[in-house]
Each structure stands twice: as structure tokens, then as C-alpha cells.
Symmetry: none
Subunit: 228 residues, 2 copies
DNA sequence: TTATAGTTTCACAGTTTAGTCATATTCATT
DNA sequence: AATGAATATGACTAAACTGTGAAACTATAA
């Protein structure tokens, strides 16, 4: 999947860096380490082929938020933040700063790797102008367009976001909460039934293909194409 | 089920280590031994492919709690604690430290193995795309789907949750209380007989495979596939 | 400002499901 | 085999959930 993607791991604790590095190396990633925020910035601006940054929040001199803010002025590179404990305020701050994922220590390295791969998959498809096809529904992420059997479909912003989320996660049962957190924002506190309304519209716009959006009673929705 | 999962067994008594090791090896696990807490930490941070740790509480130099605390700063790896006798205070402490299971000596090695397998199944299924097969019943946690010999089975939300819980804990006897706490919520105050009704429905939907859900008289239920 | 499209909330109706209860059955023990 | 206790079962009711249309609200552009 990845032709040696390069990940920059920033943490002041060498043991933690080593832990993360070893797991990523095992999964065929190139890993560069940085012991503090300043070094991280140096490396990032010097080497130009870094694909993702894993950033510890708690660091001396320059903390993770500052590093993130600095980088975000120049780059949209995916950033994963590591924080000591689940702290909702942190999480909100992170998403405002454009953090892509947020993992609280302690974490399972396997999960870390899974998140890294998921993010790179996501950004890869957005970059290369790749199109995703699911049962005749063609999604052009870069162009923000959807075609039904070649015919362009008019979708609103939210409708597109929702359909993208469904198609990217096809075959996976998605709870309303999960959908809200991903398609809306983590700080959205509205009614979960809003989803239903959007699903209704999507289904009607998708015509017969609307059936791919399945209802999972008591749980949420799932996008699935029959013949697979 | 497991492609040679590696278990780290930490106990100062070599006889106890050997006992646990022999049973795990018989079940196709790789086993690494450590005679004290410090060695355990060394091994854990050096070798990165350990899937589960079995940890004795009573050890010289560094006791099990300390080892657990140390590891939990870096990893969510499943930890099973062995203690000399059931002591509620210990159990609470362990729970706060993030211990996954708690087994009091003396224990039946069979139970130990069953718990190890249950925990690994649990963590494995958390990873996406993992399917669990138990005697022709295939559980796809991500898709929220169950197949019987390849044939998709229609289950309600609760039925699916209950069956998942049974299959993840296959081979483990489950009291009604435990089932209520895990499949329902901790604040559920309804009748425990509700479980019976759901078991009834599950059994009938599972057809001949319904027999895998065994009744343990005066206690609860156990999911077990004959030939195992 | 007004018009327009998009988003969200709400209430009602129609379904599905969960849980209860009474009765039948099974089990362990004597 | 008889007994008492626990479980299985089927029918029923209450509760929970979803689909839908319309109204309220928001943001945007003319």
C-alpha cells in the first residue's frame, strides 16, 4: 500500500519514540525521530518528503500544540497527537488546530499503526485525484463530485460528506455517534436524528442505489453493495 | 485462531511459570518467561511482538502492580494478574491500573487458557476487518453481521450483542450477572430472566448450532463448540 | 434587503424490538 | 420416582426506533 511512507515521531521520551518507531518500522514505514519540538520543525522544513507526523503533546521547550500550529501555517501534512490522558478540552483544541487524529496514552501500538495507515489511505486518495467506485456510485474526492453510472449527481456539501463517509467505510456498521463525530465535528451537539434526514435525502437522490445505505436497527447505518 | 500469539509469563516461582507455560504451549502459544518484574520490563520493551502478559502479583524487588503501572504508561497490551487469594481490594486496585483479567491462585490451567483466548479474541476483533469463526458461526464485528455456514443471519441489535459476547468468551462460563453487566448496562435493573428470552431467540435462529449455547444450571450460560 | 439553497429540528405514524408474564419443561437431589 | 427449584417457551404489551414531511432556522449571493 505504501511505498515507504516516512513518519516523523516527536517525543521527548526516548523509550516512547523507540516503541512507536519499532512498530512502524515493522510495518515498512521509514521513521525519523525528533526529541523536541524545535528539532521536529528543523527536520520537517529541511526534509521535504515526510508524509505524516506523530506528535507528543507534553514536551519541554515547545509543546505539541505549538509545533502543530507552526506546521499548519505551511502544510496540511497529517498530524497525530499523543496526549497523556483523555482530556476533552485537549481534544477540542486539537481539532481546531487541524489535528487529524488524537490518541491518548497509553495506547496499543497496533491501534497506532492502524490509525496511521487509515490516515495515509485517506490522504492518498484525496491527493492523487483517485476515484472510488462502489456499485456504480463514483466518488471523486478531490473534485467533490459524485456520479451515478456516469451521470453527475447534484449533492449538497453535507450530503457529499456523508456519502463519502459511507463509501469510504463501506461494509462497516456505523453508529450515529460515530457518524456525527466524523461527518459533523466532535464539538457538534445537535440532534442525532439530523443524520436520518440526510440519509433520507441521499437515498432519494441515489434512486435505486439508495438501497445500499442500510439501516441497522438500534445502531445506525451501513453502506453495502449487494454483489460483493 | 491465533498465528502463534506470544505470551509473557512473569512469576518468581519457576514451578508456576513452567505450569502456565506448558499449558499455553500445548495451545500453540509462544511463551517467554521472566523471573522478576525488571526482567519483564526489559523483555517487554526490547521484544515488541508480545501480545499478552500474565503477571504474578507477589514478587520480590518489583511487584506485579508496579510492573503493570510501568507498562501501562506505554502500552495497552492485555494484562492478566495472578494473585494468591481473592482479595477485593486487590481486585479494585487492579481494575484502576487497567488490568484486563484477574485470576486467583490456585486456578485451573484450563480456565487460564480460556481467559487468555477470550482476551486475545476481544482485542483481535477490535482491529478492523477481523472475523471470528466458531463452529460455522462467523461473526463480523465491524459489519455487525453474522453468517451461518456462509448464509447471512438476521439478528436484532441485542441478539447480535449477546451472541458476540458469547462467542468472544467461548469456553468461558458466564453468570447471568456478568452477562447483564456486559451486554446490557451496569445500570440495568430489569429481570435477569430477560437473558433467557434472548437466548431462546438466539438458539432458534441458530438452528442446530443453537446447541452451542449451553445452559449451566444454577449459574448461567456457556458458548462452546463441541470439537475443540 | 430579499431570495435561495442548505441545514436542522420537530412531531406523527408505522415498525421493530425488548421485556414481562404465565405456563410448560427440565434438572438435581433425595 | 417425587420434589422443588431453575430454565424454556410462547404470547403479549410497552417501549424504543426509524421514516417522513413540513416548518424553522442559517448562510450566502444577488
Amino acid at each position: 500500500m505504501n511505498n515507504k511512507c516516512t513518519v516523523l515521531v516527536v517525543d521527548d521520551e526516548s523509550r516512547m519514540r523507540k516503541l512507536v518507531k519499532d512498530f512502524l518500522v515493522k510495518k515498512e514505514f521509514d521513521v525519523i525521530e525528533a526529541a523536541d519540538g524545535e528539532k521536529a520543525l528543523d527536520i520537517f522544513f529541511e526534509k521535504k518528503d515526510i508524509d505524516l507526523i506523530i506528535l507528543d503533546v507534553m514536551m519541554p521547550k515547545m509543546d505539541g500544540w505549538q509545533v502543530c500550529k507552526e506546521i499548519r501555517q505551511y502544510s496540511k501534512i497529517p498530524i497525530i497527537m499523543l496526549t497523556a490522558k483523555t482530556d476533552e478540552h485537549d481534544e477540542l483544541q486539537g481539532f481546531n488546530l487541524g489535528v487529524d487524529e488524537y490518541i491518548s496514552k497509553p495506547f496499543s501500538p497496533k491501534i497506532l499503526v492502524a490509525r496511521v495507515e487509515a490516515i495515509l489511505r485517506r490522504t492518498a486518495s484525496a491527493k492523487t485525484g483517485e476515484k472510488i467506485n462502489a456499485g456504480g456510485i463514483e466518488l471523486d474526492v478531490a473534485a467533490h463530485e459524485v456520479s451515478l453510472d456516469g451521470e453527475l449527481l447534484e449533492l449538497s456539501y453535507k450530503e457529499f460528506e456523508l456519502l463519502s463517509y459511507f463509501i469510504i467505510n463501506q461494509g462497516v456498521a456505523l453508529s450515529r455517534e460515530k457518524i456525527l463525530n466524523n461527518v459533523w465535528n466532535y464539538d457538534y451537539f445537535g440532534d442525532a436524528r439530523t443524520i436520518d434526514t440526510h440519509v433520507k435525502k441521499l437515498r432519494s437522490k441515489l434512486g435505486s442505489k439508495g438501497e445500499y445505505i442500510k439501516t441497522i436497527w438500534g445502531m445506525g447505518y451501513k453502506f453495502e453493495v449487494e454483489s460483493e
